[in-house]
Amino acid sequence: MLNKFLIISSLFLFSCSSYLIQAEEIIPEELYCASTMGQFLKSDKNYITTENKNFKEKLAKIDSNFINKGYNLIVISGLKPTGGFSLKLKNINKKKDILHMNFIDIKPVENSIVTMATTYPYCVLNIENLKKFKISIK
């Protein structure tokens, strides 16, 4: 009985470690994070890919120079009341067909001077073969 339990447990553990080994960290080929004052990044989703028909338009609105840089993903933090907010990429992990992206919302330092305009912090990224993956952003 004990032997059976050990065998099953070791199989389970082996299975888990096999899975962890499959999670691969992805480094984007291009990454730029900043914020914009325009409401055009107001969106229900927190990211936009090239599959979105307005992708190029929005990318150009952020910065027309971005068009030729191969970005294929815009990650949006959402409306912030002032300047001083930013978005920072923590990591991207590929697990099977899902890209798990972890971003950090950075708030302005307390009592720091900020601009008094609403902002939309964003990051633009170029990730190889992005279309092959589903995206999960936290």
Binding site: S35, K61, P81, S112, M116, A117
Partner: protein
């Protein structure tokens, strides 16, 4: 204790508002130098020529309609020429429209390079002189003030102002430290208005806590800007939706050194944000409210407004923030400051607050402070417009003002044409009783022109030919003759002539013997001015309705005429050589010559041109004149009449009058006439007359009018020399025919041609042909 202070502050708020005049449509404000009552015009956006697609931000690539300019009625200011031209605004922010090499890289700021300034060492982030914008916020804020106008997309509120950029934050929006920020603000003091669309999201409740929240160096720089240098600080109120502005904007509440020159700005919605483009105008949900600082606070569009990004001017954003409301107010202040060069910066701010729209929604001072910026009212008169009474210090207790209506000049037709030409396009300043704001007005608006031709109507022309209908009452006794002409119960004229002709007294009737002698001869005319003025002394300005004449005729060689009118402001005397007309005698073909020397004094007028207020003339303008009158009966029933007058008029200057100096005015008049009785048939008469009405031949006057004023409240006058000689000579040609058809009927015909009416070469010639037949049943 803190709670107690706040309660006191809230309770005192209405008093503060009242004292500052920021309450109602009518009220009393603190304007110096005169009456303080005022009425605030509505926010009417009436400058239709300026309401372009750019104005409504619906030009190419702009993204949709915002009402950021129309909500504050900017077009009305533009229509008055107020665009912020030449006023310097500092944009203390993330930089301006340059690339890293210092080349203008944003098309929205490239129309007038000299208006977009990068001061030396103005990049406080990188310690260089190229304050390029890595973030975009500075460009957006600057666009609200001065995006170029005329490139079909969007333009700023004060599109002719001068922007200087001071870069104090980097690409990520991180600002420089307190010490460097203080330096940047000190440098920005070289501008008139300093826009600050940034702040610390903290409250403060006293000078010490505000200083702590703002930073001691920055706070000191703020005070230097206002208290030492008299510059205007404009602050975004903050975006936390709080009841009060954040610390930088709220400091003004506690520190008198900031008061009067610091403005906190809350943001309202420019649109309904539903895509319709309709105006909303209510407080933006995330905007801080004016709260305790209401007396120093105003509202402007800041949510759903359109502005340009940091890039090449082709990218426009719709965004929100008190960041955008503040530059609209900075631009509004620039517009007021440009429009009124006489206002100090403190008065500019007071006018901004006083004229804000504060009715309805905007009457909630805890939210909107003074209300919504209203550039229509801010650039209009809110008090009475007044004319300066000759001094040059707007606020001096010794300075006097006239109400507009009390300044008039009614010019004689002898020079009205000349004065019209001279005053065409000439302006002078008048001043708002509220604050001494200087307005331009056409000098000609105070002038009315006399005219010889306006009475040349068909009706009057016909009336000339009508036989006199007034009843003449004649009485003769031992002492002389008395003739009275009455119209109903109204005595129109009367004359008494003593026996022997020594004394003649006339009421509305000349007593000059020559004029009365030729009157029957010329009797073609009825008693209209047009006819009688052919032969009378033009320097006796009859026609007041109660004119008094008196003549002394010592003998047949000389005599005196005197004249005065009902007001007693005319006193004329003339010495006549050979005053008697021999036509009253039996000597046929005898010539009759009268030579006149005389003078006429006019009180507060000259050449019958009256004036009041700032254009008043003195008590004793006088004209010395001479004239020749000649009549000769020729053979074959011809009679020649002629008269000519010339005079020199000396204008008496009134103290502080805008009519400053003058040269003597030489004037002339002449009439020539030839009449024939028994023309072709008996009882037919014909007459031909040529006449030049009184005209200035030489002379000028100097108008000294206020034309500019400075922020030190002094007024500068300019001289305008007005040559009073008209550009043409009016000549009247008259042919008159008269026939007595029967004893009870007669026929009159008249052809009149008037060339260069009112001595103007641009007047159309006038021609009248009339026939008049009268039969008495």
């Amino acid at each position: 204790m803190k709670i107690c202070t706040r309660i006191l502050a809230i309770l005192s708020l209405p008093l503060i508002l009242s004292a500052c005049g920021g309450g109602g449509d009518e009220g009393s404000g603190g304007g110096s130098g005169g009456a303080a009552s005022y009425t605030v015009p509505a926010c009417s956006d009436t400058g239709t020529n300026f309401q372009t697609d750019e104005y409504y931000t619906i030009g190419s690539n702009s993204g949709g309609r915002s009402n950021q300019l129309s909500l504050v009625c900017a077009s009305s200011a533009y229509a008055r020429g107020a665009t912020g031209d030449g006023i310097k605004i500092a944009i203390v922010d993330s930089g301006g429209p340059w690339d890293a090499d210092g080349n203008v890289s944003n098309n929205e700021f490239n129309s007038t390079a000299s208006d977009i300034v990068k001061p030396s060492n103005s990049d406080y982030v990188n310690s260089d002189s190229v304050p390029n914008d890595d973030n975009g916020h500075g460009s957006g804020v600057a666009c609200m003030v001065r995006c170029d106008r005329g490139d079909t997309d969007v333009h700023g509120i004060a599109y002719n102002s001068i922007l200087s950029f001071y870069k104090v934050s980097n690409a990520s929006g991180t600002f420089i430290n307190d010490s460097t920020m203080g330096s940047a603000l000190n440098a920005a003091d070289s501008n008139d208005i300093i826009n600050n669309s940034w702040g610390t999201n903290t409250d403060c409740t006293s000078i010490s806590t505000c200083t702590s929240a703002v930073g001691s160096t920055t706070y000191a720089a703020m005070k230097t800007a206002t208290d030492t240098n008299g510059k205007i600080l404009v602050w975004a109120a903050g975006n936390s939706g709080g009841a009060n502005p954040f610390a930088q904007a709220k400091s003004v509440l506690y520190d008198t050194a900031l008061q009067g020159l610091s403005v906190a700005v809350v943001a309202i919605n420019a649109t309904n944000a539903n895509g319709s483009g309709a105006a909303n105008g209510k407080i933006w949900s995330d905007s801080n409210r004016c709260g305790d600082a209401a007396a120093y606070c105003i509202a402007a569009p800041g949510a759903d407004v359109t502005f340009v990004g940091k890039e090449n001017g082709q990218t426009f954003y719709i965004g929100s923030g008190t960041s955008y409301a503040a530059p609209l107010v900075s631009g509004g202040l620039a517009i007021i400051k440009q429009e009124f060069s006489s206002l100090t910066n403190t008065q500019v701010v007071t006018r901004l607050f006083t004229t804000a729209l504060d009715t309805g929604e905007y009457s909630q001072s805890s939210i909107y402070g003074h209300g919504l910026m209203n550039l229509n009212a801010a650039t209009a008169a809110v008090g009475k417009l007044r004319v300066l009474g000759g001094g040059n210090l707007l606020d001096s207790p010794n300075t006097s003002y006239y109400d507009l209506v009390d300044n008039t000049f009614s010019s004689s037709a002898a020079f009205s044409r000349a004065i019209n030409l001279a005053l065409n396009g000439q302006t002078m300043e008048i001043y708002d009783s509220f604050d001494g704001a200087n307005f331009k007005t056409n000098i000609s608006s105070f002038f009315t022109s006399g005219s010889y031709t306006t009475e040349n109507t068909v009706e009057n022309h016909m009336a000339r030919l009508q036989p006199k209908t007034k009843e003449k009452v004649k009485h003769k006794n031992l002492y002389g003759n008395f003739i009275m002409e009455v119209d109903g119960n109204y005595v129109q004229s009367s004359m008494f002539q003593s026996a022997g002709g020594f004394l003649a007294l006339g009421f509305n009737q000349s007593t000059n013997s020559f004029e009365n002698a030729v009157d029957p001869l010329s009797g073609f005319f009825n008693d209209s001015n047009f006819g009688n003025n052919y032969l009378v002394n033009p320097y006796f300005h009859a026609g007041s309705g109660q004119d008094y004449f008196m003549s002394f005729n010592s003998n047949s060689s000389f005599g005196f005429d005197t004249f005065t009118n009902v007001n007693g402001n005319d006193l004329g005397m003339a010495f006549n050589l050979n005053p008697f007309s021999s036509t009253s005698g039996d000597i046929k073909n005898a010539g009759d010559l009268q030579i006149v020397l005389g003078t006429n004094y006019e009180q507060n007028k000259f050449l019958n041109s009256s004036s009041t207020g700032a254009f008043a003339t003195g008590d004793m303008s006088n004209t010395n004149f001479t004239g020749v009158k000649y009549k000769k009966n020729l053979e074959n029933d011809f009679t020649f009449v002629g008269s000519g007058f010339a005079g020199y008029t000396y204008i008496d200057r009134a103290s502080n009058s805008y009519i400053d100096k003058s040269t003597p005015l030489l004037t002339s008049t002449f009439t020539l006439g030839l009449a024939k009785a028994n023309f072709i048939k008996k009882d037919q008469r014909i007459g031909f007359f040529i006449n030049q009405p009184q005209r200035v031949e030489d002379g000028s006057l100097n108008l000294r009018v206020p034309t500019s004023s400075d922020r030190d409240r002094t007024v500068t006058y300019s001289n305008l020399n007005v040559d009073l000689e008209p550009d043409a000579r009016q000549i009247n040609f008259d042919i008159i025919f008269h026939k007595a058809v029967t004893e009870t009927s007669n026929l009159s015909a008249n052809l009149t041609h008037v060339k260069n009416g009112d001595h103007s070469n641009s007047s159309k010639n006038q021609n009248f042909i009339s026939l008049f037949y009268k039969k008495t049943f």
